[in-house]
Symmetry: C2
Subunit: 522 residues, 2 copies
């Protein structure tokens, strides 16, 4: 990446380049000088520091950031689990169902449901109150309702002069909704109020899976569909919509990212060429029985599904029978945001529970609890103006102690720094986890290289030093100093050593939640 | 098109294939037999009739439909007028401005404003009440509000701890909004409540024009931007959004259809390759001063613009000065629908005004008014079960008379059938206009080929026959019969001839509006 100075400079994390609060960049890409180049480059174990020519700006990049992988695009097939019906029916726990009240009250359950919509394309909530308008409550539990000409919600039942075949008792073959809309609503919800009619069962087909099958079996047909925008049209007395989009929309990397399929509103494609052969080939893949998951919606069931991916269908039903669903549209980006924030909340709740539960135990041999010790370390880091990841490392450095402190004091090295770093790796990047991992080694290192350091250790710390291997040899110390994260680990170690003051006032864990939230991995 | 049987059959207009009410298709593309072929083909002057192998289904296609051109995709550059600032400032009438109350009360003014948003990418409403929340009234005048994490509307003013640089007094360089959202809001509205601060002027840049310039000047850079999805990110305490989309999104035909440009929320692109050179090349085109239209929003001004195309900007302003805008998002598809329905309404209003105004005049020499005559003809056509386009032709066949009847009775052929057909061509396709054009010729034809036809003509009609050229010769009649639309013209002629009954009850014009609305060109 050092051979791409514009890229590197555009990503400068310093507070002159980015708003520390919002993370937004202050400068435009044209603000960078044409002759921008790396002036001097200092490579350190855990970071690189660049001084820029010609403006002398200074940027510091953590090595862990430089080598981080690209994020996954959750809208394309690259971020999905594709399925056939059997994948979900042969392992009943694979069916993404949940009870509405549990979903509302338990963040972990809400996470599971929303992850299913993102990864599998749908989830089914049971026990949603059988009341009109409730579908909007479901939509608003994860995002924003997309109002359309059908209203904020729409009723799916037999109508006397339907503008849309959905409002008849006819069978509806697998399709995506509103292909004539651009942007198309990316999520659909269907809430069942009554389903007493003979027939009217539901089906779902994974359109991304069907597209992947077509690409494997008939790549020419796939290519035709991906490169042909087709007109979809809808017209009634108050509305006239049209959109020109391909049946299979691929991103510039060739990944499937949207499927539209609806012969009902397919307009007249002029100059069709070989399109119809390809269209029918795709339609035949979509119609394979093994692709369709079938089930019956009962009163109180609410289906949430990705309308850019899943095709939905229903069998015909007896016109005299009562069948009434309410539907609404919403969007995937709002759902993805709710999911990301929920992951943060769950992670921070788990961490906070460690502070308020096991963390209230004695920090063995010291006059503070473990939680007090870690909060003191974080407060010291914050007061010293340490960067956010070091405040976080200081706050979380002894997490591995929380269920192994006694062992250590009994003379067994529980390797708590590694336990803690591994635990934290679920939520944080190496800029947070590695100083935690190395904070014990940093003690052994400082004993070796800083003459009066060892004498200042607390009694308990002097005891555990022996269990942990004693001071490093000169060779070990040189090896440690060269490690990525060594400097950060030493900094954390110094906050750690000073954080053992009985009765010192510190902020509560909640004070650090926003800082931790910003560091949590997306 | 006859060599593409699947295409032809998929477009069968018969009521077994399509719901006559909604126009939606009843069948799936897989319902058509694999060995589908044209069994027999009857080519007539104005339509072709196909009997299908193997199922014997019969389809009739108007020739006018067969050769109709493809509709234009109004979302891509193909449906836009690209501009530089001078294109709009050198001809002041080119600036799409309107008064809010005129816009609300006059359909033609509303049409002009919404067409400007669709074609130029923006319009400016003046005189919108300076009241909070009014921006939602503007959005709801043409479409549906897209609610986001910023709410149904958002306030643009200086905030103490802004999550977004928009909420500071900083200059904001040209950008599109919410590139981290997918689907991105396609319309933005900004309603000015106060702008007393020094600075805070507005700018707009046509991103499609800039992309077209880049394509012409640096096709390699254009290609890199079109094929590279880039991450855009936004994160605050309640929200975490990301989208991977190219800066220039082209449709499968290579037409530009969306531009995203916002360095503030541009995330870290991994493996950038040559992206940054292309990015800066595009940024430099966008920054050309001649591209930016600058103006100042005053209280009561509301800007409506296409957020997939136009970049908007503002200069820095004095932090102590009062500046307060309210913004909202909406979508282009709703606007396009409103525009299409408005075109229908305006067309039908104009037609209805002809019936209730000049149409109330005498139908010269007959015991009915011109409006009564035409309504009788339409009612007869409807009672005979004629297809919709023939009912419309019958209803509108004498429109060309409405300001030229006296001339004809004075012995001058005003060619009213041509005048009427040309007038109708603004709104209807040839299936409606051509029978109107030929209905006088049809009289001359019938006099030639149907022995007792002439004797049944009314006195006035016999008189005008002479002015119009008298009965056709045998050669003329053969030529007429071969014309597209001849059969339809003869049918309309017979309704015309019978529609001269004093005092006959007919439906009002309003009865025919839904039928006419369905025939209006999209």
């Amino acid at each position: 990446m050092l051979d791409n100075p514009m890229w590197l400079r555009d990503n400068c994390p310093c507070p002159d380049c980015r708003d520390p609060h919002s993370g937004q960049k202050f400068f435009q890409i044209t603000d960078l000088p044409d002759d921008l180049a790396i002036g001097t480059l200092a490579e350190r174990a855990d970071q690189i520091e660049v001084t820029w020519f010609p403006d002398g700006h200074r940027s510091v990049y953590p090595r862990a950031w430089l080598t981080a992988p690209a994020a996954v695009d959750h809208r394309s097939e690259a971020g999905k689990r594709l399925w056939s019906a059997a994948d979900l029916t042969q392992a009943p726990e694979a069916l993404p169902e949940a009870d509405w009240h549990t979903y509302l009250s338990m963040p972990a359950e809400r996470l599971r449901v929303l992850e299913a919509v993102q990864r599998l394309g749908f989830a089914l909530l049971r026990g949603v109150p059988v009341e009109e308008g409730q579908v909007l409550e479901v939509a608003e539990s994860f995002g924003y309702v997309r109002e359309t000409n059908y209203g904020r919600l729409f009723d799916v039942r037999v109508e006397p002069a339907p503008g849309n075949l959905a409002f008849t008792s006819r069978a509806i073959a697998p399709h995506t909704d509103n292909p004539y809309r651009d942007p198309v609503p990316t999520i659909q919800l269907l809430h069942c109020l009554t389903n007493a009619a003979e027939g009217g069962d539901s089906g779902l087909v994974d359109g991304f899976h069907a597209a992947a099958l077509l690409r494997a079996e008939d790549p020419g047909a796939f290519a035709v569909l991906a490169r042909t925008p087709v007109p979809f049209v809808y017209r009634d007395a108050q509305t006239e919509l049209s959109a020109f989009r391909p049946l299979i929309d691929v991103d510039p990397l060739g990944h499937v990212r949207e499927v539209r399929f609806n012969n009902r509103s397919f307009g007249t494609l002029r100059s069709p060429g070989g399109f119809y052969d390809a269209y029918r080939a795709f339609a035949k893949v979509l119609a394979r029985p093994e692709l369709m998951l079938t089930f019956r919606l009962g009163p109180g069931d609410c289906l949430i599904f990705d309308n850019t991916r899943l095709l939905h269908a229903r069998t015909a039903f007896e016109q005299s029978g009562a069948r009434h669903l309410q539907g609404a549209y919403a969007d995937l980006d709002g759902l993805a945001s709710t999911l990301a924030v929920l992951r943060r909340t769950i992670a921070l709740d788990e961490l906070e529970a460690l502070f308020t539960g096991p963390g209230t135990g004695d920090y063995l041999g010291e006059p503070v609890t473990m939680a007090e010790h870690m909060l003191q370390a974080a407060a010291l880091a914050e007061a010293a103006g340490a960067s956010a990841h070091l405040v976080a490392s200081a706050l979380l450095h002894d997490l591995g102690h929380l269920d192994g402190g006694a062992e250590l004091m009994a003379g067994v090295d529980n390797r708590h720094s590694h336990t803690g770093a591994d635990l934290l790796g679920r939520w944080f990047g190496p800029e947070v986890t590695e100083p935690v991992r190395l904070h014990v080694a940093a003690k052994r290192y400082l004993c070796a290289v800083e003459p009066d350091y060892r004498a200042r250790l607390s009694e308990a710390s002097e005891f555990t030093l022996q269990v942990q291997g004693g001071p490093m040899s000169a060779q070990e110390a040189a090896g440690f100093a060269a490690l990525p994260g060594a400097a950060d680990a030493v900094a954390v170690r110094r906050f750690d050593d000073a954080a053992k003051v009985a009765g010192a006032a510190t902020p509560a864990f909640a004070h650090f939640r926003p800082l931790l939230a910003r560091l949590l991995r997306g």
